[in-house]
């Protein structure tokens, strides 16, 4: 069965634990990678072997926190935009969900300005949320086991 790769980019250890645990209830996810902040995420994406390990089909699911040290979620997105077509080409095909504990309207609007950001979620990430994401963005693909 085809699996979906997941990146959880959040500086808070407990938030990552909770996200990973929730995702673990779904069989469809493989290879949940936790990253501490935008800096580590950028390094990973630019590293060799990333393209192999993280194939674009089906697109990876990326949970991106906003408030992180060293490089915030928005700073990470800006950084990715500047990297150029070959990376962003496959990069933008991924499903990127911004996650945050903030209900700040400005943050939400800012997230909407990036066309490859597919959603904006307030923490915590619940099983319901994951189900909705799967249905919305992966439902059209055939051979995925979407139920938890």
């Amino acid at each position: 069965m085809t699996k979906i790769n997941v990146l959880v980019i959040d500086d808070d250890e407990l938030d990552r634990y909770l996200a990973t645990r929730t995702l673990g209830k779904f069989d469809v996810f493989d290879n949940v990678v936790e990253l501490v902040d935008g800096r580590d995420a950028a390094d990973l994406i630019e590293s060799d072997g990333f393209a192999e390990n993280f194939s674009a089909t089906p697109p990876s699911l990326i949970f991106l926190d906003i408030n992180m040290p060293r490089m915030t979620g928005f700073e990470f997105l800006d950084y990715m935009s500047e990297l150029g077509e070959d990376i962003t080409g496959s990069w933008s095909g991924n499903v990127i969900m911004m996650i945050t504990s903030s209900s700040n309207v400005e943050d939400r609007e800012r997230a909407d300005a990036y066309d490859y950001v597919k959603g904006y979620i307030e923490k915590p990430i619940t099983a319901e949320t994951v189900k909705t994401i799967l249905a919305t963005h992966y439902g059209h693909l055939g051979d995925l086991q979407l139920a938890p």
């Binding site: 808070d12 909770l18 645990r21 504990s101 700040n104 923490k123």
Partner: protein, 498 residues
Amino acid sequence: MEPMLEQFRSAFEAVPAAVLVVDESGIIVLANADVNELFGYDTGELVGQPIEVLVPEDVRVGHPELREAYQALPHRRTMGSGRDLFGVTKTGRLIPVEIGLNSVHSTDGSYSVASVLDMSATVAEQERTRRAIDATGSAMVMIDGKGKIVLTNNAAYEMFQVPDGALLGLSIEQLIPERFRRRHVVYRTSYSAEPSVRNMGLGRDLFGLRPDGSEFPIEIGLTPIDQDGERVIMATVIDITERVRSEQEIVRQNEDLTRLNDELTQFAYSASHDLKAPLTTLDGILTCLNEDIAEGNLEEAVTNAERAKALAKRLADLIESTLGLAQAESYDAADFEPVDLNRLVEETRSSLGSLFETQGVDLRNDVPPGCLPMTQQIRLRQIMENLIGNGAKYSDTAKQDRYVEVTTEIEAEGLRIIVSDNGLGIPSESHDHVFKRFRRFGNHSVEGTGVGLALVKQHVDRLDGEITFTSSTDGTTFEVVLPSSGPIDRTSQVELSS
């Protein structure tokens, strides 16, 4: 002589006023009943006496000369108006009088006829008015058509701090600062041309000037008065220094309130945001805990229970430091006093004691003992505790001889307090955000709330000081400059603007 007098006698007796007739050598030849009554003499007593008996003693000596001068060129005239002319009665009492004088020529010589008007009632009336004007607390200044001051009251003398009477005869322009005088003459003359009851100085651009050169803001009410066909202007002057000061105080307080309100709004936003985060996580952990129990995964359940407790404690710490930030506003009222900085650092050493031990960091207090900055102790204490504490918390375990050092330098602007360490340093990307609330950087495993440096900055701002820092992987140095002249007292200055 006799027949003429006889003719006049009955006429004189009939005149309903005090009249007397005096001959060329100043002897009274006729005095009617009203004169006798006025001056307290019996009938006929005055006849044959010199006119000088009715003249007050202090001017009696010069009177004959005046009389002779009049007789050289006799004409009809009025003397005195009650203020400077007096008669004296038989008992020596002085009466204010107005005298009408005329001359009569007859075959037996020339005579002077005088009518004497008792001005007592009028003078008393004037006195009453005078006292009323003086009794009023408002400063009143009356000027004539040429801008000369013709009448003032006590309140005016007090306001302008001049002796009684000193303002009479001055031009009104002398009571205002020089830079307004030319303008004022124009205003005055155009006002005189078309006077009305009005107020001036409502725009707070009018000032009074005292002999010592001091100026004060005034408001003036003008009333035109027609006095015997002559146009005068009565000005009521009010010293509005207090009112201006109060208004400026209100403006200042409004600005303060607006600023505090903005800060409160910002604060409420960031506080709710950052206090909510640990709670959502806590909620998630407890959900996991439930699942762990349901699945019989007790080991994980215990771990999660521990995590939940740690979160609760973190939240409690965060709330406490957030309250500390809010409370820092109220320290404005604290006294400024000389603070022993060396001792303050030692007190920090004992209050943070275990931190230094745990981290294996040495605190070096190089503040000279006599260093006594004039400041608010409570703020300086929090500044030092936070800066020194940070130095210990973020120490670099890879380095030997880890330390936090406190030194001072005296500068022209004030006292420079330097807290330096050889810790982990602040990442360069974060340098712009160092003093923002709830921003933390680097190692999250170290306990901290992200509030400390925001608090330090707020304290430094309130003390009118400055804070800067440099940082690298070799370590961090914070420098706080406290001004040597205490706080700026904003309440005592009234702004004079023209």
